[in-house]
Amino acid sequence: MSGLIQVVINGLMIGGVYALLAVGLTMIFGVMKIINFAQCEYLMLGMYLTYCLYNLFHMDASNNPYIFIIPVAVIMLIFGIVIYQIFIRPIVGRDMVSYILLTMGLSYVLQNAAQIIWTANPQSIDTAIKSKSLYFAGLDLSVPLAKLVAFVLAVAFVLMVSAFLKNTDMGRAMRATSEDAQIAALLGINTKQSYLLAFGLGSLFAGVAGVLLSPIYTVYPRIGTLFSTTIFAVVILGGLGSVAGALFGGLLIGIVENLVGTYLALDLAPVGVFVLFIFVMLLKPNGLFGVGGRKA
Amino acid sequence: MGAVLKIKDLDISFGGVHAVDHLSFEVERGEILGLIGPNGSGKSTTVNIISGLYTQDGGEIVLDGTDLNKKDIADRVHLGIGRTFQSPKPFLSLTVYESVYISALLHNRSKQVAKEETERVLEFMGFSKLAWTSSSKLPVEKRKWLDMARLLPARPKVIMLDECLAGLNPAEMNESLELVQKINSEGVTIVFIEHVMAAVTKICNRVVVLNEGKRLSEGPPAEVMRQEKVIKAYLGKGYGDA
């Protein structure tokens, strides 16, 4: 029994990580109706930023990287905006195909820029938290601390974002844009601005995720590719542009992955995820928290 | 004569909204029936149900004695239901000819026949000169006519025209109305969704007035439009029209 509980806990923890990554993607996705294939490269950059800052301040095992959340977030926000202005803006309003090709190219560029700067060798930060955990001897359960932090902050973020979307003018503008860009424009909403914002925030979240994941993973130029396909599944599973959906989807996929991985075969864990994904698509094409707008 | 299309007790609601509320009416063969009513009275919803885009919660649709309930959109087209959309839906990158040809292909085994059919329809709809123009180059009224033209190769029994006058100037309206009558004169029954009353009174033999998803009244346009409740329904909704 405790075995099963442990598996579910493991699933929840990694699920939190997925959710954290998915929030940024789903935001861009919801507002602009495009998949940003470069999203996970933002994560990679966030991790490298953390790595650099960590070494810049000569931190060692006794520290942990979480103090860098704010600076990294700010830098990544600016980065996201710059990227949007340079690459995305010229093609706003084009069909899906252009976005796919462009963001693909972007991910190539970022990956290899990183390889040029930091080489292909995995780097990692020296912090004690990476292998700490809450251990319940009685139940023989353990919860890895770094992941727990990531999980909690992921949830916190999701709440903050939904609050932002509900209660601020910017947020409302973005929601309106995601409902129907044309009508929003008619209502005098500056959709271009919403796009810009969505893209900036998307990269900001990826950056924060980068900070939170830096104790758990080593960082190397292609680390993003580990997550990309799963994250797409999470976003669609949760429902177009639904932030809560991203959280739920992330957790669900995390659990399925661990159940299949533990009781069937690790190699097949991704298969389990994608099969689940396809089933949900068929039963609930709008995703679990979907709000229509399926005809993309 | 007799009814070509029978709508019995049709009912659908979205969430809380009871869009169509136990609606029943019949369409006589060869007539032009005006389906009118203020915005949100359920006209378009009714059309969407009849054409198979939505599935009703309850009620029957019978075309020439065949029950359409179990039929999908394509089946209904083949059985003789045609419809246009409020905003025209041209195949932008295709020419006028190709747009009609596609429809012709769908309803003719032989390509040769399909081509002849296409020629005929273009001729009939006055598109012959524009045949090789790209749909994307057409002005809005012509796009609406192209939508109608595309329906003809299916040899429909009933065509439902959803606000085919919206956004047109008087001259274009008249042209459109002539086209509609021309199609009707070929023996095609027309269901004419509109709220430009002048047009309706001009070409419709009969109108059915909807309000809040219910049938409010029915009869020859002239007398229906005099009825207290009908006027109220419109004025109530802030429509004093034509």
Partner: protein, 333 residues
């Protein structure tokens, strides 16, 4: 009109002849690097073929599919496994592969086509991943990640489709590519082609004319899958080594689509142009910049060039024509 048409056909024929004679000319043209040029030409032809098959569903019907690497892999493995494991002629394997690919296309397409646009794309991405993982997992059969390798060929065995001279495979692929392009030309002017175009433009309108879009799409999807399988088989025979990473990974799936999009999606000649550009581009960046700056430079440039292309040639290189020619619509059917 007629004159122009014939003119363009002449150009295409010239190209065809060029490709046909290339194995004979390459040595004279490029000296020692002739064989390498031949390999590039082979890749151009292969990606033209792959792109064209993808184009049937991805271009004409604008259903962007990321599962075509899976069909390629299915074809490749169906030819290789019987040959390596039981010494059965690839001819049998190719036929089997076509059947399997068609079945796979049905299994993938049937659910996937219930989704639209981006969602369809991501669903196919997931399906492609499933095939990739299965190839990795069933090691005993597919060799898993260690891949399948062919023994050294010491003598030609026509029935086994094993030839020492790679030009044989060059011509096989060329023939196949011509065939595929021909199929595309036929489809474009066929019933199926028009239905696909209608779906691309407005699926709801198409359905309201009495079309069953999902049947049309599924049909196109299966045709394209079957052709893709054959291409995969020839690839396997030519290169004599297969592993899931190189034939089933979604990098390949994306590269196939990218080739078409760069050239001009939904056009018969887009894939050819795309292949003629992207294949040498990859070689050039690799040759000039391969080992520079920690090995990052080549791919970086590749990505940058893609981005620039998207921004300045939204409809692919084929759209350059619009620079000196305003959109006239050609007549005749």
């Amino acid at each position: 009109m007629i004159k122009l048409k014939s003119k363009s056909t002449v150009i295409v024929l010239v190209l065809l002849v060029l490709f046909f004679l290339f194995p004979l000319m390459s040595k004279q043209l490029f000296g020692n690097t002739g064989n390498y040029m031949l390999l590039i030409a082979f890749n151009i032809i292969m990606y033209t073929a792959m792109g064209s098959t993808w184009n049937i569903i991805g271009g004409f019907g604008r259903q962007i599919s990321w599962s075509h690497a899976a069909f390629f892999a299915i074809g490749a493995y169906s030819a290789m496994i019987p040959l390596v494991r039981w010494n059965i002629s690839p001819i049998v394997g190719i036929l089997a592969g076509m059947v399997v690919a068609m079945a796979a296309a049905f299994l993938i397409g049937f659910p996937a086509f219930r989704l639209k646009g981006v969602f369809f794309s991501l669903c196919t991405l997931a399906c492609g991943q499933i095939v990739y993982r299965l190839l990795l997992h069933f090691t005993g059969f597919t060799g898993g990640a260690s891949g399948l390798v062919m023994k050294k060929i010491n003598s030609d065995r026509a029935l086994m489709l094993l030839f020492k001279n790679n030009n044989v495979y060059y011509y096989m692929m060329l023939l196949l590519a011509v065939l595929v392009v021909a199929v595309c030309i036929i489809i474009e002017k066929s019933r199926l082609g028009y239905y696909l175009k209608a779906i691309r433009e407005d699926e709801v309108a198409a359905e309201s004319l009495g079309m069953r879009p999902n049947q049309v799409k599924l049909c196109a999807f299966m045709i394209s899958a079957v052709l893709m399988a054959v291409i995969g088989a020839i690839y396997a025979l030519r290169f004599k080594y297969l592993d899931p990473e190189s034939v089933a990974s979604h990098d390949l799936a994306i590269r196939i689509g990218m080739t078409v999009i760069v050239g001009g999606i939904g056009t018969v000649w887009g894939p050819l142009i795309g292949a003629i550009i992207t294949v040498p581009l990859l070689e050039l960046t690799n040759a000039y910049f391969g080992n520079m700056l920690n090995g990052g430079l080549s791919q970086l440039l590749y990505g940058l060039i893609l981005i620039i292309m998207v921004i300045f040639m939204p409809d692919g290189v084929i759209s350059i024509k619009s620079l000196w020619q305003n959109h006239k619509v050609k007549g005749g059917l």
